[in-house]
Amino acid sequence: MAGRSDRTAVTTDDESVATITSPSRRSFLQYSLAGSATLVMGSTFVGDEAAASISLPELGEILDFPDVIALAEAPYASNLLLEITTGNRVRFELPRLDKGQGIATAFAMLIADELDSDYERTDVTLSDRRADRPFSITGNSAAIRALWDPVRSLCAHARARLVTAAALRWSVRASSLRTSQSSVIATDGRIATYGELSAEAARVAIPLIPVTPKPVSQYKIVGTKRARKNARAIVTGTEKYTLDTSVAGAMPTVVARAPDIGGSVLSWNGAVAASMPGVIGIVPIPNGIAVTAQTFKQAFDARDALQISWRPGPVRGQSDAGMRNTLRQINTPLTPVLPLVGSLSATFEFPYLAHAMMEVMSAVADVRDQSAEIWYASQSPNFVAAQVAQSTGIPASKVKIHIPFAGGSFGRRLFGEAAVEAALVSKALRMPVKLMWTRNDDMRHGRFRPLSRCDIRASWLAGATLSYEHHIAAARNDFRHGLGDALTAAGVNVVPDLFNQVGFITMISLPYRFGNTSSKLVEKELGVPTASWRSVYSGVMTVANEIFIDEMARIRRYDEVDFRLRHLDSAAAERCLRYVAAAGAWGRTMPRGQAQGVAVHAEYRSAVAYLVEIDTTGPEPRLLKAYCAVDVGVPVNVSGLQAQMQGSLIDGWSVMFRAGNHVDDGRIREGSFGDFHWARMRHAPVTTQVHVFPAEGSNAEPGGAGELGITAAAAACVNAYARATKTQPRRFPVQEYD
């Protein structure tokens, strides 16, 4: 098995020597000279896709879902690419999607720190799809966690080789040398850049200094603030998103889609459209009719001139009122409460919710001669390649996928419909195309966070909480991307409930001592396409818990912060809560109609707390201030982490107060940002202070960050609103139902 042999490829020096002398192996760690005398570290091997699959770890080993991803990745730990060029630049190919969460910058910081390279000359690019890294999935806030040890180890190795090369060149002891700013420096002042040493470093047989990564306490860049690497490209408009890439001859393409969710073409006539100016081709694809033209405007016009009869979609006749009723009927009943004990029961309902990233789904494809070259910002490129292969008949091994920087994702890019469509059109027209979903396409034919219903009941006697039950019924979340590889994707297809239950069990946490607790998930396929949405199950369950806990505290006549502190069993969450309570002066007197609200969350081996202040006296409620404290074990880029927490607050406000989707007779009601009411500047608090707890101890390990903030932020906003208005919000978004 390729994966197995790779597991043993290199973890110690001896093994690295062994693998170098065994070039016949399919998988080995390379220290090779590239054409331009460049040190290339890591390994790439050409394996067939099936052989690259390994079995999943046992569930018992797993503490939370990112562990699944990290463990699945473990055999591929050395299977990364780090390059030191003779021009003295360091380049790392990141096998993940940067979609704004800032991982390219965070890894540049980590690499520069571990390798002692010049940060300004350390570049991180997004790797093309690699069939030899089957589990290259970007999700579950796991990127830093999964690649932390592999990247540090790779850099420690590279640094040891560079030092060894200098030691051999100068005939001095390797341990006497130091490294700084992409140079090796001798005690007598002699200096050689990494670029100058890269060719010799590639020939080093045995590194003469240890290859152990530095303790976290020695890092100088990790834990500081850096502007993201592509900040200048973004502010000058030169960052190349998918549709900005210049692929010669790729022509604008749009798709006429059914009015119904999942509707399909019954019959069509394209005679008028074909004769319109600028039209290049019209191609029927399984879910619509694609039009390729000289400009997108001409493609839109021709699309609108197509005469199409549509078959109804699978949810024609259904609306979300009926679907909500279905969820009510299928949810696991709560246990009746014993007489004489106090209790609280509540139901919280969450709507379908579009991902609505700013960059609509889009892809560039060039399919010819039984091979495909695709540009698509994917969270799961191997899954997309398999889908392209299945649709076009081209072998997956001939599907090359480039990964541009993405304009947001939030889970949507786990799937790759646009890439498949672009490939089909390109294949039919025998020319490259750039296919774009319009905003309406994105909203009405995209995927959604599942419609969900949370039934919660708690009971107590005097000060002791006896039980806490949380039963959720939801539209089935589509995990058919699996872990990004072919095997688990196939598994999800066969037994979706199993995968979803594993996801549920490993993602959900209730960081409180509440006596007898139970969480149960029931999912049902309701016909509306779904996908994980930033923080997945926690995005509804933890939010509901934190709102419920606030109400329970008030009913039991506890202060909301004090009640949490009495029951929390997460030291990190407790510390975050204490911090925001102090920073935000919890309990201070507020004018009528204004109130504070708090909430906490612990997941991804991280914890966070928010305290927000709300004003409900204006025409619409508004956040005034927000305080956040966050503990992610090892913060890498403090500025990036703060940005995630600030953005999560806007997400939280938007989804709880303003934005949601409806199904009317089998169609999605909302079509764009005019009726999908995402928060604007006028809804944002003027200040959001984010306190980041620094790493503690030399063996600290990073937790996840990308999805951490939204649940606590969302609940804190609702809690502030409930306290200000003395209401009990039960259905979201609040502004639609209150």
């Binding site: 979609k99 704004g100 969460q101 800032g102 850096r226 502007a227 993201r228 592509n230 900040a231 200048r232 973004i234 502010v235 000058t236 408009g237 030169t238 960052e239 190349k240 998103y241 549709l243 900005d244 210049s246 604008p252 100016p277 000289q294 400009t295 997108f296 405007k297 990233m357 700013m358 960059e359 609509v360 993405a406 304009g407 947001g408 939030f410 774009m436 319009t438 905003r439 500025s639 940005a643 600030q646 953005g647 999560s648 607050l649 806007i650 997400d651 938007s654 764009s672 940002f673 005019g674 995402w678 928060a679 604007r680 500047m681 006028r682 944002a684 608090p685 003027v686 200040t687 959001t688």
Partner: protein, 156 residues
Amino acid sequence: MPQYVLKVNGDEHVIDAPNDMPLLYVLRDRLGITGPKYGCGVGICGACTSHVGNSVARPCIVRIDSVGAQEVTTIEGLATGDVLHPVQQAWIDEDVAQCGFCQPGQIMTAVALLAQIANPTDADIDAAMSENVCRCGTYVRIRAAIKRAAAALQQA
């Protein structure tokens, strides 16, 4: 097909286009000027925001026949050579962008705001910037960057 002479970022282009062609697709599909982004196509998200003459405009709903002799400035035309506009610099200094897709539009709106109001209040910022959606939620930093840029412009 009618012919138009368009002035974009200091360059003149001769374009054959139907008169209802929105400026966005002229810029992106004909001239390869990709800083302005498609986000909605109907003028409600602000991702394509640019300047037409001295006004802030949404190229996705500006017909080419309405541009006339007015100079079109996109995000690419804001810097002077390698020297960034103070608003662009403030965006970097405040590390505003996350995914960055909306930021060219945000910046062009902010530049227009500061041209009208040198020292905008929070209410001014709310009013001017609420036509631009940021899905990553960078508003708190956009506000800080506008204030930083205002100070820099006043010192200049």
